[in-house]
């Protein structure tokens, strides 16, 4: 368990202490990843099932590596279709997998709330690897981890999140995590991509990129999905990148020298980030990927029944 949490489905449900428990344990986990032999026996005999209803390479691989470094057995179950087209319901699929006695079920699904529905029907721990536009808790935690590691603390910092907030589960998990850790959040994007009432989650909203990123300690640039163009949320990627994309000149003129640029990936080079910024001095995008493994190790360790005290030792 993580504090009172039997599952890791939504950071909205996590207290500050529970967030810190994962982040602190992830520091030790990251140390394991730096060893020449990247294997510890902590979860030997435990099994983790990755149940993915949506295409994903990085998140699934990250969970798989995390499980394997901890010596858990990992099984990947990929299903391109949802229950609507497949004939078997999500609940049935989950019950079938449950019958194989996994310790942790990692689930990604296009429907918001799907991991919670699964959790109601299985006895094992459920970890959301992203559900619809709801939450992506491990991504939110790895964003926290990355910024805390680079800047030393999250207290009193300012984070800007730029892009399609409406469709972003990453933005929602960030919005539920950062304020609990003392970081202010500014959202930025075209008005068509800012969802109704989002300020009530405890953030400010601007449609002007400069206002959002000036003075920010870190900036999360969200991916613009091509199907949104002409949705009609934005007219063209050309106009989007001019107004809400970051290039080297804007980064030089507007960003603090110490500001970090994050991106949940995969990047649309030339749309939300120009290549020189994606690969430039502000970018911590590849650190995020490595930290993702450490954070997921911490989540799996705690939910599969590992002893927090032992992990610290």
């Amino acid at each position: 368990v993580i504090g009172r949490q039997k599952h890791c489905i939504a950071l909205e449900d996590f207290s500050r202490e529970e967030l810190l428990q994962v982040l602190d344990l992830a520091v030790s986990m990251k140390e394991v990843l730096r060893r020449p032999i990247k294997k510890v026996p902590s979860l030997r005999g435990k099994s983790v099932v990755n149940l993915f209803f949506e295409a994903s390479t990085r998140t699934r691989s990250s969970f798989e590596i995390a499980a394997k470094v901890l010596s858990a057995d990992a099984l990947n179950w990929t299903s391109a279709s949802s229950s609507v087209t497949k004939g078997e319901t999500l609940v049935d699929t989950a019950r079938n997998l449950e019958a194989m006695r996994p310790d942790v079920l990692v689930i990604r699904h296009s429907a918001s709330g799907a991991p919670g529905l699964v959790a109601e029907h299985v006895a094992c721990a459920v970890v959301s690897a992203g559900d619809g536009a709801h939450e992506h808790p491990s991504q939110g935690l790895l964003d926290c981890f990355t910024i805390r590691e680079k800047l030393g603390s999250l207290e009193g910092k300012t984070l800007a999140i730029v892009g399609d907030i409406s469709h972003s589960r990453v933005a929602r998990s960030d919005l539920h995590a950062f304020p609990k850790l003392g970081t202010r959040v500014r959202l930025c994007g075209p008005p068509t991509m800012i969802p109704a009432g989002v300020e009530q989650l405890g953030c400010t909203v601007t449609h002007d990129l400069r206002t959002a990123v000036e003075g920010a300690d870190a900036v999360v640039m969200l991916r613009i999905q091509h199907e949104r163009i002409g949705d009609p949320l934005i007219p063209t990627t050309r106009e989007y990148s001019r107004l809400w994309g970051l290039n080297a000149k804007k980064a030089r003129d507007w960003l603090k020298p110490s500001a970090l640029i994050l991106h949940p990936g995969p990047i649309n080079r030339g749309v939300e980030l120009s290549p020189d910024v994606a690969d430039g001095p502000h970018s911590v995008i590849l650190d995020q990927v490595q930290n993702g493994v450490a954070v997921r190790m911490a989540i799996l360790y705690l939910l599969a029944g590992g002893d927090p005290a032992e992990a610290k030792a």
């Binding site: 949802s82 319901t89 296009s110 918001s112 709330g113 919670g116 619809g132 939450e135 109704a196 009530q200």
Partner: protein, 433 residues
Amino acid sequence: MSDVIIIEGGRVIDPATGTDGVRSVVLRDGKVAEVSERTGTVSGATLIDARGRWVTPGFIDLHVHLREPGQEYKETVATGARAAVAGGFTSIVCMPNTKPVNDTLAVTELILARAAAAGLARVYPCGCISKGSGGEELAEYGELAAGGCVALSDDGKPVMSSSLMRRALEYALAFKLPLTVHEEDLALVGKGVMHEGATSTRLGLKGIPGQAEEVMVLRDIALAELTGGRVHIAHASSAGTVRAVREAKQRGLAVTAEVTPHHLTLTDEDVAASRYSTDFKMSPPLRSAADVAACVAGLADGTLDCIATDHAPHSPVEKDLEFDAALNGIVGLETAFPVCLALVQAGRLTAPRLIEALTVGPARAFGLPGGTLAPGSPADVAILDPTAAWLCSADRFHSKSTNSPWKGRRLTGRCTHAIVGGRLVHQDGKEQR
């Protein structure tokens, strides 16, 4: 069973005649014979002691889905009628979105035959506005009216063509049939599954703004003005709809409207509190607290004519799913009275106004018999215990389906007796034959 029933000692609430007080009600030969302060019995009469109870005209629900023909695993005419009388409803109007839809006399006749065989609530079919509810060609209103349809609707499928809606309103004038319309602009609804607002944002569910309903309500009010046709707004859910209907009535237009118990009492926040429970998914969606307050005010001041349940039974096959994938709708016949009674207990609605919205309000909107205890009226009566507290558990439902947001909650208020045409058809949770 004798031909005379005397109901004594209850608080008779009959808004149509302005009655509210302890009275005796005498039913004879299927009609209301007398409502008076006199007591005493006649030999051979069945006496019902209604002390501490409310005695009202049987409720009338203008919006029920009975699922027969085609989806009898969810509900049949018989089980729906049983659920109706268990909830105090002695007359129900059933929507045409069965399989096949009710756009032909054969379907109308089947429904009426099944209702007659069940012998419980009076069942009034609603026919389709368009053939196959396809939104393109008019259905045969003459045949549907002659067969017993009392209204027309493509419920669940908004009539998106303004031109078809205009012609439907005009053509229906020949048969004096109201059109009961599900108002949603489908382009604005998009893939939305709940009310749009801070809660849909938090849950990451696609939102549907109240304006998706309002633009269609405003269109149909304009078309009612153009044609002189009878528009009945089904399940009003947004503050803008209440405002538009109020304004239309002030202008003297023949527009009526209904509101459901859930849109009077639940909000989009309940979707979050239930953690994506699909028993909170319906169309139109549960809206904001401000919308709910506007609906309650609209019901209290008479802008909204009646309460209708939009009883929409679904099985676990359609409901034990992701929120996005589950079908819309909840059952409502057996919970409507206690759920709405809570508004009376909270002082937001008077008891007579509540009963009016369940009886003479709907009767007048569709021109149906009943809805009153005036002498000579059909002997359709509900006897209600306004203080009975009960647990709304799945095994309590007479409906085949239990997709209710009140499942597991304690409710106050129950129908103890339902009388249809002078016959006691339901008593204390049991069907009477």
